[in-house]
């Protein structure tokens, strides 16, 4: 499991957007608002980062 640091996660709605987008891409992820990190399997890291950047966040 790798932790991706995501800049700019402020509110529960942001969390929802990220988890939905990752789910639609078939990536299992845990989103933590407090630590501002997204945990994914090592193999999904690159794809996950892409998805998160497409949403407008900085990784």
């Amino acid at each position: 499991m790798t932790n991706i640091k995501v800049e700019g996660m402020h509110c529960p709605m942001c969390v929802k957007r990220i988890s939905e987008a990752l789910e639609n891409a078939g990536i299992k992820a845990e989103v933590n608002l407090e630590t501002k990190t997204v945990s994914v399997a090592d193999t999904d890291v690159i794809k996950a980062k892409e998805e998160i950047e497409d949403l407008g966040f900085e990784v």
Binding site: H10, C11, P12, M13, K16, L55, G56
Partner: protein, 742 residues
């Protein structure tokens, strides 16, 4: 170079607005992109040769939001509204400034005798000027707050006084009394100690602050309509003897034929004349399982063709379509929603006549004792002056602000502050089924077979090649059990029956009961089990190998784990629970009984869902509705409190006052509890607001006069003002401590 303004939906915080700016800036040819969060607006300047308007909308959609181009007309009405809001804010700030200055000026010398005031207006040396300055500072505040006087006196004369009446009465009394005293200063210098200009102004200023905060708490729910309208496509393919043309939907008449292909939206209500396929009618039923459509089947405008292609003869257009009726319903329901009379108004309504009565009685008694009419008038006015608590207007909005913040931290988004005042009153809770109490996804629930692994392997190998949600469920189960699938040849998909193919030269078929009957495959071995699964409303997939039954896989929507405890808690609290769904009766009853609902209503259209809500409202019950889909919009709007569950469609979220961001159904219970805490806090705040002023009323009425010669003084007024404001705000903050109990 083009500059356009888009309306963005779904942005809730600064991070969201930065996201929209960031992704749009990445597009080629975009020079500038700026988001105005409070106005939900994106202003973008771009080179239309490199990027198109559709590209922008698509990019924003990928980021998780929705965007529509703002039309000219809407822009004009929006700027008019914005100006109105700006003006209100400006008047509020001015009121606060003048009231503040007045307070410092009038109280300054009383609290700090050495307070430096220019001699010409000092209380000691030029009392008349001192008073006049106060009058000058008071007038702007009262003018800016003139709506309180207009509304207040009008409500009073109509014998239904409210908070504004109390403000108008008390502030007016303070002003008149102070003006009279000002003129008396020439004869009696001590009159300068009887000025209550600050009581008059501060009460108006504080109530204005409260009203402004209240308005901010009320978010507009208009966006549900625009989202619903966007469900219908703009163009359709018209078919006539000359060929096919793409035309605007508005030009199509009843009797025309249109062609709808896989992936396209059905433009209008109609009947299929040729062809067949499947449609996603989740906007109507909440179920996204494809519905089989063939010649003679009715189709609905706004639904999506998910398979095949067909020609549709249009039966309804414009206002008569099902979608248009749903939209009209939501619009009407939204307009009919009356603003609730808040607790504060109710309390003030009772307080006003009591206050006037006390003042009159006190005045009369003193007249009887002293025979001095001016003394009696003084008593009467004093009672009115002290009777209005300054902090009254703050009681409700402060509690709602803290309550809303508390809810947000727990994943309960309150879109409309008023909801916090009414939610705890809910007597009936209605739940949508699919996506609300169930996961909304099909999953394998039962497997009837001698060799489970072989069954799953064969089924999955075939189903991998199909797009159906049932196929996905079967393959998910196979993946879970770590079953390997095999290569399939001669794959065939037969609409309305199932799929078939060859694995290692053996013919495998997976389909419904009809398919088995058609091919003459015996299923009596599992007859009993099949029958009970059918009663439970589950979807059955029969798998055969070489025309012999291999097994049966039952697929159904699974109930959310926390739904059980949520329904139980609601029932324990004495609320009536109802399951309301557009899905079929069997599944609804199975799930409804499992969860223990008091009542189950199934196979209803979206507007009929709202009728169920109305039925209970007509019995006088307060209804809370929980839903997630487009087909819940009318019911959510009609309900006293609409609650959208976070995983749901944007339209459901736009129609609801409360949004449960976490997909957790027990949050409904939490929301009710939050409302209970909030209303309790509002009541406590009102107590503190009225407490000090009410204690001072007897003093104003002259109770201490016989013994101590003490009557009302501006000092008492000031003390009451500050103590009540302090206690109200502190108590509202106390609501935060309820976090653990939520």
């Amino acid at each position: 170079m083009k500059e356009e303004i888009y309306l963005i939906e779904g942005m809730h915080c600064a991070a969201c607005s930065s996201s929209v700016e960031r992704v749009t800036r990445k597009l080629p040819g975009v020079e500038e992109s700026n988001v105005n969060l409070p106005l939900n607006r994106l202003t973008i300047r771009y080179d239309e040769a490199q990027t198109s308007h559709e590209d922008i909308i698509a990019k924003i959609k990928k980021a998780g939001f929705s965007a529509t181009l703002k039309s000219e007309e809407k822009q004009k009405t929006e700027t008019a509204e914005e100006d109105k809001v700006k003006n209100e804010k400006l008047s509020l700030i001015l009121s606060i400034i003048f009231a503040g200055l007045l307070l410092i000026f009038s109280m300054g010398q009383m609290i700090f005798p050495s307070f430096p005031l220019p001699d010409i207006i000092s209380m000691e040396t030029h009392p008349m000027n001192f008073a006049l300055v106060q009058l000058l500072l008071t007038i702007p505040v009262l003018l800016l707050g003139k709506r309180f006087f207009i509304n207040g006196f009008s409500s009073l004369f109509h014998l239904s006084p409210n908070m504004d009446s109390l403000v108008a009465l008390s502030s007016g009394a303070s002003l008149i009394f102070s003006i009279v005293q000002t003129f008396l200063i020439e004869d009696n210098i001590h009159a300068v100690h009887n000025l209550y200009y600050e009581s008059s102004a501060v009460v108006v200023a504080l109530v204005s602050v409260g009203k402004y905060l209240e308005e901010r708490n009320k978010e507009k729910t208009k966006s549900a309509i625009t989202s619903l309208i966007s469900l219908a496509p703009d163009t359709a393919i018209l078919v006539d003897e000359n060929g096919q043309w793409e035309v605007p939907v508005s030009m199509i008449k009843t009797g025309d034929t249109v062609l709808v292909r896989h992936g396209e939206k059905i433009p209008l209500d109609g009947v299929i004349t040729e062809g067949n396929g499947t449609a996603d009618e989740s906007m109507l039923t909440g179920e996204s399982l494809p519905v089989e459509k063939e010649k003679g089947s009715k189709v609905i405008g706004g639904s999506i063709c998910t398979g095949g292609a067909f020609y549709v003869k249009v039966t309804h257009t414009g206002e008569d379509t099902t979608l248009a009726k749903i939209i009209k319903f939501v619009e009407d329901a939204q307009n009919k929603k009356a603003p609730i009379a808040g607790m504060a108004d109710k309390v003030a309504g009772i307080f006003v006549p009591c206050l006037i009565a006390v003042g009159l009685v006190a005045g009369i008694i003193w007249f009887v004792i002293k025979g001095d009419i001016s003394f009696s008038l003084k008593i009467f006015t004093s009672v009115l002056v002290i009777g209005c608590p300054c902090a009254m207007g703050l009681a409700t909005p402060t509690a709602i602000i803290v309550g809303t913040g508390l809810g947000a931290s727990k994943g309960i988004l309150i879109r409309n502050g008023e909801a916090l005042e009414t939610t705890h009153k809910a007597q009936v809770v209605i739940f949508d089924k699919t996506g609300t109490v169930t996961e909304g996804k099909m999953a394998v629930t039962d497997i009837l077979s001698q060799d489970k692994n072989k069954l799953l392997s064969c089924a999955c190998s075939l189903e991998k090649l199909s797009q159906h949600p049932i196929s996905k469920a079967i393959c998910d189960k196979a993946k879970e059990e770590e079953i390997i699938s095999s290569e399939v040849s001669d794959f065939e998909s037969i609409a309305g029956y199932g799929i078939s193919g060859k694995i290692n030269e053996t013919k495998i078929m997976a389909g419904n009961l009809r398919m088995m009957e058609e091919k003459g495959i015996e299923i009596s071995f599992y007859e009993k089990e099949i029958s009970s699964l059918q009663e439970a409303g589950k979807t059955l997939v029969f798998v055969s190998e070489n025309y012999k039954l291999l097994g049966v896989i039952a697929v159904a929507d699974t109930i959310k784990k926390d739904a059980f405890s949520a329904i139980e808690k609601l029932k324990k609290a004495g609320l009536r629970t109802i399951l309301l769904t557009g899905d079929n009766k069997k599944t609804a009853h199975y799930i409804g009984k499992e969860l223990g609902f008091d009542e189950i209503v199934a196979e209803v259209l979206p507007t009929e869902k709202a009728d169920v809500v109305k039925r209970y409202q007509n019995e006088g019950k307060t209804v809370l509705m929980v839903g997630d889909g487009i087909n819940d919009a009318p019911a959510l709007t009609q309900a006293d409190i609409g609650c959208a569950i976070g995983s749901g469609s944007d339209i459901a979220i736009d129609s609801a006052e409360i949004v449960l961001i976490k997909n957790d159904i027990t949050d409904v219970v939490k929301a009710i509890r939050l409302s209970r805490f909030t209303i309790k806090n509002i009541k406590e705040n009102l107590f503190w607001a009225f407490c000090y002023n009410t204690l001072a009323i007897p003093v104003a009425a002259g109770v201490l006069y016989p013994a101590f010669g003490v009557l009302l003084s501006p000092m008492i007024g000031a003390v009451a003002m500050s103590l009540s404001s302090l206690f109200v705000v502190s108590n509202a903050l106390r609501l935060k401590t309820k976090e653990k109990k939520l």
